[in-house]
Amino acid sequence: MFQYIIRRLLWAVVIFAAVTVITYIIFFVIPADPAALAAGKSATPEFVAQVRHFLHLDRSIPVQYFYFVKNLIVHGSLGTSYVNRRSVDTIVGEAAPVTASLVFGGAILWLAIAVPIGILSALKPRSLADRMTMVFVLIGISLPVVWIGLILQWAIGFKLGWLPNAGYCDVINPPVGATCGGVVDWARHMVLPWIVFAILFAAIYARMVRSNVMDTLGEDYVRTARAKGAPERIVLIKHVLRNAMLPVVTMLGMDIAVALGGAIFTESIFGLPGLGRTAVQGLDNFDLPEVMGVVVFATLCVIIFGLLVDILYGFIDPRIRFE
């Protein structure tokens, strides 16, 4: 187990290096000059040179990358934004809880929808309920998140006024001047984003749960359990779901990890100051440190959640050994 974790961590270093190098290269392939942008439209050539030095952009790309890695490892710093010179650690630190609110709330919602629907459909295939469920799945998968978001925002948030149409409220320490704060305000503002974020995943997961449960129901050990007279509830819970949920756990871990890197569409539609919106702003402004901050955070999420899922697998399914 210990050796396995060490091996995974070493791979994580390789993945991290590959992702950050590729991001760096992509950024510098784009021929815009961040120093000229940061210097402003009226800057003289001398001032642009001064700003280039100020932002360390007068060094070669490999040297810049070296300093980025050194700062990250030695000082735990992601650098400072080219645009507003704020610490990227602070920017990512402020945005991450917002994205986490969206992703974890959304994950609870999509599981709450997908698991019961998937099981129900699998138990009664080709029934009316199953067909209706599959219609929901088709709709959920087909409709673009942006469209659903805009429609719900307009109808429920603006026209009906049942929920806030956008914005974010902090659970604790809302900023000065904020018109909302606390758990209830936070959750009220998150309901629509959670729904929008969850619909696609709920549809995908419902289909996956249905398919896994149907496959498992046909396994020999399920037939054996029934033949031995086990009650249907026990068969379903102990034998079917335990096995059918294994791929779901894997998917869940990866989906949450990827989404933590920024749910760009949902955050943009609902004005949530999370990592997705931060990444979009960074790209718009050619702000490499800000983009790198989000990329590093997302990479770490993927690595950590991947590791957690693998470890969790061993506990869920004792047949799996860490070799």
Partner: protein, 559 residues
Amino acid sequence: MDKRLWFSAATAAVGAGLMVATAVAAPTKASAPLKAGKATAGGTIVTELSTDVDYTDPQLTYYQPMWELEYATACKLMNYPDAEAPQGGQIQPEVAAGLPVISKDGKTYTFTIKPGYKFNTGEAVTALSFKRAIDRLTDPKLASSTSFLVSDIVVGAQARLDGKASSVSGVVASGNKLTFKLTHPAPDLLARLSTPPLQAIDSKLATNEDPQGVNNAASCGPYYISARTPNRSITIKRNPNYKGPRPHKIDAIQVNVGNTPEVIFQNVTKGTTDYAEDGVDPSEYAGIAQKYGINKKQFFTRPELEVDYLALNHLPGRLFANNPSLAKAVNYAVDRHAYTAQRGFLAGNRTNRILPPGMAGVTKKTEILKGGYPIAVDNSTLSKAKSLATGHTADGKGLMWAPNRGPGPLQAQIVQYDLKQLGIDLQIKLLPRAQQFTDARVKANADYDINWSAWGADYNDPFDFINILLDGSSIADTANNNDAYYSNAAFTNQMHKAALLFGEQRDAAYDQLDKAMMSQDPPWTPILNRLNRLFVSSHFGCFLYNPVFEVDFAAACRT
């Protein structure tokens, strides 16, 4: 496994319950909308920005919406009155007791500071408060983008920027006197002094050298920034120590950041937001105008100090090098109406001159040059264009750079079609705006014949357009604002002379220069002056638009 499943089910139920509970819970207590009617003192104006400001630090911000807010918070030596155009565009002393005493050689300006102005902290505003601002603006540790406002004219400013001096030697504060020593006469100093980076700052901010700047600094205007959370909000409150003549009716201005233009439109419509500071989705304006009328109560249009133009590249080897006939032909041929329409409903007014309306010297009568290039094309203008172009189209090929987003691609196609009529096959190169902007400033990269371009004033003086954008003697290898690479020795000489003039003489000289360049050797095809489309809630009263700084929050009230 039983326990795990039940735990999952229970968690899901709790989550779903929480969502349902929050959905039906009472809405957040927001500022109660007042019924439309009489203006009331006090209250809060809520404004929204879809994109956060760069900084709130006065020496660092270089972003129009922040300058708009700082019009309410800053006190300056010279400022523009709380009035609409044209009065609002005429500079006047604010903290200065009167106009400066100017030496005979035009290189020394002495101001006397009016007593009675105080920061919100209680500290008095003195001559030193302004010197501190200039010292901080040129602090090399801050590397401020707005240091250009003093670096080219104030003695010792460049030395300070280069790290060779601890303060700007050309600015001397002594008692209530503040003296500026200039490297050369610069009558636009007064306009520059009206910009937010040159506002008075208190002793605490003066010592701050953090390149991130500060989120809330003391200020001496009618309001001050009391708090800022980057990417979230800015809170501006009334300065309790302000005793000056400027209005200050409302208690506070709350700036919320981050919603999309679509949401901001919804919020202003509902009245939970009072002003869409960086606009709403362009597709909404026609509906807004239909519903609320134009310039009545909730929807206003006002000109910006701005011009959209096609820069005609005069570099050797390009189409417009020593080719005024073709430059004139393009000015006759381009369909300004079609080009302007691509920006959307009421997005701009067509123009045929360099200087925009609202600029000193440009009157209502001269906004469009009579006898100048046509703002509507027809067969006669096209014939004129063709005759001018004949024999001047070189190999009949050209390249146009345009932004790849917004109206840029369609506008480029319009120009492509118009030039086709002249026998020029124009290729279009679409670029991200940031890349287009930075590349066009580098002489070696500027391989276009026509560049889609736009320029907004930093301060209200024709120098900021004519000299900054068209002075051939300032063309360098990099960082050129002169993206036409226009260099006409006679006009450059006239620009230098006009820059030394004062008052009406100055305005008239630049007006003449604009006309002469356009008629004899056009550097550009000026196309439109953008209009600010301003959507406010029914609670936003006392609406006032200053032609330089835009919406005047100090004058605003709630109804």
